[in-house]
């Protein structure tokens, strides 16, 4: 390509380029010789001006660019600073303010990709120079573009009906938006519904959650789909379409009034199946309601346990008693439905660590060993023991050990800190102490009480006489002599001695893990996971509820372990982000779409089948790209055998020039 192909912004003559090298305080300038970089840039063809400055993204920094555009007639801008993911938008806006098309701009990433990852100043500076040279060469070929505007469907899909999903859904619905709330369990409520009290205020979890659940049920703008899962999603921001699978409940949801008579008359006199909601600490019948406050207030049938399903010869007393409403339907099958939405909030929550994975703690093998979640049910008034703390052998514990960090802070299981265990362990210590007056030992590694009122709560629990031992229990084994007790062996690192403490009850503070199927959810919604398996936010500081997929937001523990207040705050934030999108009515997208140059196209159709979004059509001997459907991947551009497809912002010339730029010094 020759200089003749250059398109100057001012319409005539050669481009007038301004280069700005940012110090980013010392983030860049400590490793990259910014003055040298500026000098190198100054001598590149087309560069009219080159500056270095402390903080290009600051207001004064942006003002410099604007002034230079106006005063020196710059028509191309290159800023060498941080990642374009961070400030590309900032500088484009500044350039537009300066009166130039914002796409006459190229950003060079010399911080994340150079100064922060190298130590050798010479090598890092050489790399920065190469990258700046590439940008200068490339920007000469930029053309004026306009952002694409896409309308936003105001309906929102909320995936997961725990406290995060509930709060998001209510916020959106109160703002007048239609919400589809999808929950895979038979009731919304999530883990919070299982808790007894919440730390540090000791509010009753049910007392604060159930009103919100009822609101969800009653809200005209919310459509709750339980026993349902999103199996497929396609489209793009503002215009998604989700396919939802509904598992059979064997009850007609609209007909059931939640009288629960069918449960009473079931041919099973007593429950035989471990009750999921009580973690198996009690039994339920095959026709049941998950818990008294369940939403929807509708029973369901578990075909595994139901005689009718197993033999087809049940008396069906349930059907008899429901004759009037006729809500029971043994023939229900899995169904699918589709909804159209503009944005999605993912609030799929967490999975409690399975303590069986650490056999040295005896869970599942030694009767006195419980998980924290089980104890939540034990202390709960509506739990299997109606709030009495009774052990599996029927006795009340006199000595209780609580072991922190089970499945957290452990490279053999999860490296991360689960963030809530210290506090919920203190809460359980308090509750168990209150109910049994047992002697309680908290074995912790580090007591993490960073939160409003948390430290005060810890002091209160100490005052109540709970013994704090700094050291993780190494082993739990049955005490000699058939006492039924177990011995906790740990180094008390305060004392520097190993201690053996026999107790009646052990509570394992199990950590928070991503849901077992987080990987599937991630794929379905095309978002990413961090190393630990939690969903990745767009930016850890500045976009904590956004994802890299526009219009898909995160709320709650699916993003990282967090407590209820943080979950609710994040759920509100996710709802607000969705509302901002909806109320803008449209969204501006990168104009990086591809287009076919008609007179160059031979109609070979190579591109047509390659587009995953069916954006390429073929008509009258030529291919053409539907700009609305094009997402700008550029696959067709690379494949076009006659070079007749271009991609805005990523034209062949631009990339070839970048190659020349980075290689120019070789």
């Amino acid at each position: 390509m020759t200089e003749a192909n250059l398109s100057a912004g001012n319409g005539n003559g050669s481009p007038r380029i301004g280069v700005y090298v940012c110090h980013c305080g010392t983030n860049i300038s400590a490793t990259i010789d910014v003055v040298a970089a500026r000098d190198v840039a100054e001598n590149l063809p087309g560069v009219v001006l080159s500056r270095e400055y402390k903080y290009m993204c600051s207001d004064p920094g942006q003002e410099i660019i604007k002034d230079d555009i106006r005063e020196l007639g710059l028509d191309r801008i290159v800023v060498a600073s941080c990642s374009p993911c961070l400030h590309e938008e900032t500088f484009r806006n500044a350039i537009a303010d300066g009166g130039l098309n914002p796409y006459f701009f190229q950003m060079v990433n010399i911080r994340e990709h150079a100064s922060w990852v190298h130590k050798d100043i010479k090598a890092a500076t050489a790399k920065a120079n190469d990258l700046i040279r590439a940008a200068v060469r490339r920007v000469r070929f930029h053309r004026p573009l306009e952002a694409r505007r896409v309308p936003i469907d105001p309906r929102v899909l909320v995936v997961g009906g725990g406290i995060a999903g509930i709060h998001s859904a209510l916020t959106l619905a109160d703002a007048g938006k239609k919400v589809y709330l999808v929950e895979r369990e038979p009731s919304i409520g999530g883990h919070m519904a299982m808790f007894d009290k919440t730390f540090p205020t000791l509010d009753c979890a049910a007392c604060i959650l159930t009103p919100k659940m009822t609101q969800v049920r009653a809200h005209p703008n919310i459509e709750v789909m339980t026993m349902s899962e999103v199996v497929e999603i396609d489209g793009f921001v503002g215009n998604y379409r989700a396919k939802i699978k509904h598992k059979p409940r064997y009850i007609l949801e609209d007909a059931c009034v939640g009288c629960l008579e069918c449960i009473d008359v079931c041919v099973f006199r007593n429950g035989k199946t471990p009750d999921e909601f009580n973690l198996g600490l009690s039994k339920r019948k095959p026709i049941y309601i998950p818990f008294p406050q369940a939403v929807p207030q509708v029973v369901l049938i578990d075909p595994e346990g139901c005689i009718e399903f197993r033999t087809g010869r049940c008396k069906k007393t349930c059907v008899e008693v429901c004759a009037e409403r006729n809500a029971i339907d043994f023939t229900q099958e899995e169904t699918f439905s589709e909804v159209e939405i503009g944005s999605v909030i993912i609030s799929t929550g967490f999975k409690a660590f399975d303590a069986r994975r650490l056999p040295q703690y005896g869970y599942g093998r030694l009767d006195p060993v419980y998980t924290a979640l089980e104890v939540e049910r034990l202390v709960n008034a509506s739990g299997p023991t109606e709030g009495e703390i009774v052990l599996r052998d029927g006795s009340k514990p006199k000595k209780v050990g609580i072991i922190h960090c089970i499945g957290s802070r452990d490279k053999n299981t999860n490296v991360h800190c689960s963030r809530v265990c210290c506090m919920y362990s203190l809460k359980l210590a308090h509750l168990v102490k209150e109910k049994t007056d047992a002697e309680i030992y908290e074995f912790f590694i580090d007591m993490r009480t960073g939160g409003k009122g948390f430290e005060e709560f810890m002091l209160r629990v100490k005052e109540e006489g709970v013994t704090m031992i700094r050291g993780k229990v190494a082993e739990v084994y049955p005490e000699a002599g058939n006492t039924g007790r177990v011995v906790l062996q740990a180094e008390d690192t305060f004392l520097g001695m190993v201690r053996k403490i026999p107790v009646d009850m052990v509570i394992l503070a199990t950590g928070i893990e991503p849901q077992a199927d987080a990987e599937d959810v991630r794929r379905t919604f095309n978002i990413s996971c961090s190393t630990g398996g939690f969903f990745t936010e767009r930016h850890p500081k500045l976009a904590p509820v956004s994802t890299f997929t526009d219009g898909v937001f995160l709320a709650g523990a699916c993003q990282a372990p967090k407590d209820i207040p943080d979950t609710v705050a994040q759920a509100g934030a996710a709802a607000a982000e969705a509302l901002a999108l909806i109320d803008a009515g449209h969204i501006e997208l990168e104009p990086n779409t591809a287009f076919v140059v008609e007179e160059e196209c031979s109609g070979c159709k190579t591109c047509v089948g390659l587009c995953p979004f069916s954006a390429i059509g073929y008509d009258e001997g030529k291919a053409s790209i539907n700009e609305v459907l094009c997402k700008g991947c550029g696959t067709c551009v690379a494949a076009c055998p006659s070079g007749s497809i271009r991609q805005n912002l990523f034209e062949d010339e631009e990339i070839f020039e970048e190659i020349v730029g980075v290689m120019a010094n070789v």
Partner: protein, 304 residues
């Protein structure tokens, strides 16, 4: 008939003699061949590693090199030997520099392995796995074959399986690290009443300290035995000559230490399997126990 190379290790020729006797008898009864490795040397145990690492590796490597000549899997009944040989084989696999060093040393100094003459060279092919008898009996022979061969089930004999430390840690290629079960299953197949409540099946017995710091050793053994006494264990079954000697040899001192009469026979699991297979007690080395075994067996008979 499947056959293995057999690496007895020093103990099985001394204090662990009944282990060797019963092992050979049981394997023969189950039609599994064991061919003693020609001119094997000491594995080095834990002591050598504490003095000189490279030499410790070289020492164990010589045995692996010998075993590679037949290519059969190598059965090492002593836990310490089993671990040292396995660990060495892993080092050789993972550390190429070390592997080169050892191979060239073998080539240069051991004509009986690498052949005579100049340019003798040696390379590990990695074709030999080091196996424990528990592994072989459980995974190769199988519980079912054993069950079928049992003629004299040891019902009513309350046996605590004790695995010791070095066959489950740091590697546990054939069993669960925290709750190993292979011996439990084998003993159950022999009809034993397996004491699954015995909590210390992988706790270190302290054997390596018994000679050097007897007080410490006695402490560790006491813990293991005291618990067994409290649980009415008839016999503790072991899979390692060091554990056996340690748990058995000091019971009079333990009795004083815990202030309770301690007379629990410590039998190799192979001895128990041999009894169940109806083999001759003498051939199984039962008579070589310090703690008399007959009373326990007799009590079982009277319980029947």
């Amino acid at each position: 008939m499947t056959a293995y190379d057999y690496y007895p290790g020093c103990s099985l020729k001394g204090t662990g003699k009944p282990y060797e006797e019963s092992l050979l008898a049981v394997f023969e009864a189950l039609d599994v061949g064991l061919d003693e490795l020609d001119d094997w040397n000491c594995c080095g145990a834990t002591a050598y590693m504490a003095v000189d690492e490279k030499k410790a590796v070289a020492l164990a490597s010589r045995n692996l090199a010998l075993a590679e000549q037949s290519g059969k899997d190598l059965v090492a009944p002593c836990n310490a030997c089993w671990l040292v040989l396995n660990k060495t084989s892993r080092y050789l696999d993972e550390d190429q520099d070390l592997n080169d060093l050892i191979c060239s040393a073998i080539a240069g100094t051991c004509p009986s392995i690498s052949g005579n003459g100049k340019g003798a060279s040696f390379e590990f092919s990695g074709n030999v796995s080091v196996r424990h008898p528990l592994d072989v009996l459980y995974n190769d022979v199988g519980v079912e074959a054993l069950e079928n061969a049992v003629t004299n089930p040891l019902s009513g004999l309350r046996v605590a399986p004790y695995y010791g430390c070095q066959i489950v840690r740091p590697m546990s290629p054939f069993d669960d690290q925290h709750d190993p079960m292979t011996m439990d299953h084998l003993l159950a197949a022999a009809g034993c009443d397996v004491a699954s409540d015995y909590p210390f099946k992988t706790r270190c017995c302290g054997a390596s300290q018994m000679m050097t710091m007897p007080d410490v050793g006695i402490d560790l053994v006491s813990l293991l035995l005291e618990d067994a006494v409290s649980r009415d264990i008839d016999v503790i079954a072991v899979a390692c000559p060091l554990c056996q000697f340690n748990l058995e040899g000091y019971q009079p001192r333990v009795s004083k230490r815990i202030k309770a009469e301690t007379k629990i026979p410590i039998l190799y699991f192979t001895q128990l399997l041999g009894l169940a297979l109806g083999l001759d007690k003498k051939a199984l080395g039962i008579k070589r126990s310090f703690v008399p075994v007959e009373p326990v067996l007799a009590r079982r008979a009277s319980d029947d």
